[in-house]
């Protein structure tokens, strides 16, 4: 028999409904799997008492016929979402011990719908990173290993704890956030599915801010359907976030079975970047063939400003971060380190509380916003962002329904292998995902095969604004054609 934690979220939902097992059984199966997997460092905080309490409520609701949409389904929460009374660190020392007295809109929606919280998941500090190596609380180890090797690999980042926990069956699904690829890249690295919805689909209220014009929450789960179910609960209008769209939430799950017959899928030639590996190219061609076989038309398109998205991001995102992270001043919450005066206190607190990557990005942001450089850097980058968005608008206006690209330039790499000397080496991880954030579009990453070393590779589909439904439909076609990725057996337990 399959262990309960190895079910998909949809299967677990059906099993609870059929009373094959209880929400308490399901929670306990996860809690013991989590305990056995502490070596992966995916959870920063386990909340077993809360999980069992919530499961008990769910069992009562199921018994009385009042089950809510996610009743009794155990989830992990990226430690960037504030959770009432449960410590929230953003992976940073500066927020060590921070106990929010409010609940983020996204997690509130999940609990409203009956989901069960298992704990808080590790991440890159303030979501700044692509390998989960910048967390102040240690690296996350991927459940994946290269064939015949025990080298520790990264799960990707910044939602590395979320992706690792989902791939290792330590939750049925997890919340994550994506500013430049932080949902889609770790999903691709771990053989899981992740969607960054359109900017404004999920409320940002109560989620620790990195770069506010780019940040967006979304789920990571083991199947396309599971992602659709979770996004349906996470989304929705919220007056407390002025950039959250006042739109009704579609029935995402219903869209999963829609198919792609009659759709036109664009293949952007600019994504065929210099030095792309033959494996990634072959995977991309295979994905296009799968969609074609299912009735879609494939058409080459041009997105001419693609190559400028990554450098423009490294102006816009640090600029917004330098402003957002000014709040960590040792006065209102978190760490305080004394100084000779108030400025000295600020400087010592921030020097001790922030890690290297965060300091780097704050300083770049401070520089590009400083007097004399604002027009040359920030305004220019925002103009280029307009051009990037226009490229997509023109493609969609020409009849393209969705765009297919690789999710990452390679499979997962080893811990400590990248970016130690030159930070830009790590930044290049997001070359295929970052355009989507710059244009505010939805993007989904779906597993499509393994590389020569047995590691998962993902494809990305990019959609029109607020058309996540087409992405779920097309991603399901790829998931069905490629077959669901066989996740690693628990070598860590």
């Amino acid at each position: 028999m399959t262990h309960l934690n190895e079910l998909t979220l949809a299967e677990a939902r059906d099993g609870l409904k059929a009373k094959d097992f209880s929400a308490t059984d399901l929670a306990k199966a996860h809690l013991s799997a989590i305990e056995a997997a502490r070596g992966l460092n995916a959870y920063l905080l386990e909340t077993p008492e809360r999980a069992l309490q919530m499961a008990e409520v769910s069992d009562a609701k199921i018994a009385s016929g009042e089950a809510r949409p996610l009743e009794g389904l155990p989830l992990g929460v990226k430690d960037l979402f504030c959770t009432h009374g449960v410590i929230t660190t953003a992976g940073s020392k500066i927020l060590e011990g921070f106990q929010p007295h409010y609940e983020s809109a996204v997690t509130h929606n999940l609990w409203r719908d009956g989901a069960v919280m298992l704990g808080k998941l590790n991440l890159d500090e303030f979501a700044m990173g692509s390998s989960n190596e910048t967390s102040a609380y240690g690296d996350v180890v991927s459940p994946w290993r290269r064939a015949g090797s025990d080298t520790k690999l990264v799960p990707g980042g910044s939602s590395g704890g979320s992706a690792a926990a989902v791939a290792a069956h330590l939750c049925l699904g997890a919340t994550a956030t994506d500013t430049g690829g932080s949902i889609r890249q770790p999903a691709a690295f771990t053989g899981t599915v992740g969607i960054k919805p359109t900017y404004g689909r999920c409320s940002r209220w109560g989620t620790v801010a990195y770069a506010s014009s780019l940040d967006q929450a979304g789920p990571i789960a083991r199947t396309v359907r599971d992602c659709a179910i979770l996004l349906g609960s996470m989304s929705g209008a919220d007056a407390r976030d002025t950039t959250c769209a006042d739109l009704a939430v579609p029935d995402f799950e219903a869209a999963v079975a829609r198919g792609v017959k009659g759709l036109t899928i664009g293949i952007p030639k600019e994504y065929r970047v210099e030095g792309m590996s033959a494996e990634i190219q072959a995977l991309w061609d295979k994905g296009a063939a799968m969609l074609k076989d299912a009735g879609a038309t494939i058409r080459e398109i041009s997105l001419p400003h693609t190559r400028y998205a990554l450098p423009a991001y490294y102006i816009v995102a640090p600029a917004e971060a330098s402003s957002n992270l000014a709040r960590y001043d040792g006065v209102r919450y978190g760490l305080r380190v004394p100084g000779k005066d108030i400025a000295g206190m600020y400087e010592n607190t921030r020097a001790a509380g922030f890690g290297r990557e965060v300091k780097r990005r704050i300083m770049i942001g401070t520089y590009v916003l400083s007097a004399g450089y604002y027009d040359a850097y920030y305004v220019r980058a925002q103009k280029i962002r307009t051009l990037i968005k226009r490229d997509f608008e023109e493609a969609y206006a020409s009849g393209i329904d969705a765009i297919l690209t690789p999710a990452t330039p390679s499979a997962a790499f080893g811990i400590g292998e990248k970016g130690s000397g030159d930070p830009v080496e790590m930044y290049l991880q997001d070359v295929f995902t970052i355009t989507v954030n710059m244009a505010g579009l939805p993007g989904i990453s779906v597993p499509a095969g393994l590389d020569a070393q047995g590691l998962p590779l993902g494809l990305q589909l990019i959609g029109r604004p607020f058309d996540e439904e087409t992405l779920f439909a097309a991603a399901q076609v790829i998931e069905t054609a490629a077959g669901r990725t066989r996740l690693p057996t628990a070598w860590w337990a």
Partner: protein, 95 residues
């Protein structure tokens, strides 16, 4: 453009991050690597292009200018390192 050691110290001060003497040289190298990377943006023709101000076309939400929430002083100071009577305490600023 690139930054020298003096500029690194000036940016660090503007960002209110203390940097030690040993940290300046590595930071300078890392910041210059990022600045060299973004330099390619100067080749893009942005003549007549409006800078992006909103990623999705939407009107700014407005509401009536009235008090909608409040009375949470205890919650607000709960996580502060030093407080007194629902005030945040900071080192002396004015003599």
């Amino acid at each position: 453009m690139s930054v020298d050691a003096t500029t690194v110290r000036r940016i660090a001060h503007l960002a209110r991050i203390a940097v030690s003497d040993e940290e300046v040289a590595p930071l300078q190298g890392e910041l210059n690597a990022i600045l060299a990377f973004v330099e390619q943006l100067s080749e893009v023709d942005v003549e007549g292009v409006e800078p992006m101000t909103s990623v999705t076309p939407m009107a700014m939400k407005k509401r009536t200018d009235v008090v909608t929430d409040g009375g949470h002083a205890r919650d607000i100071v709960f996580n502060a390192p030093e407080t007194e009577d629902h005030y945040f305490l900071v080192p002396k600023v004015v003599e």
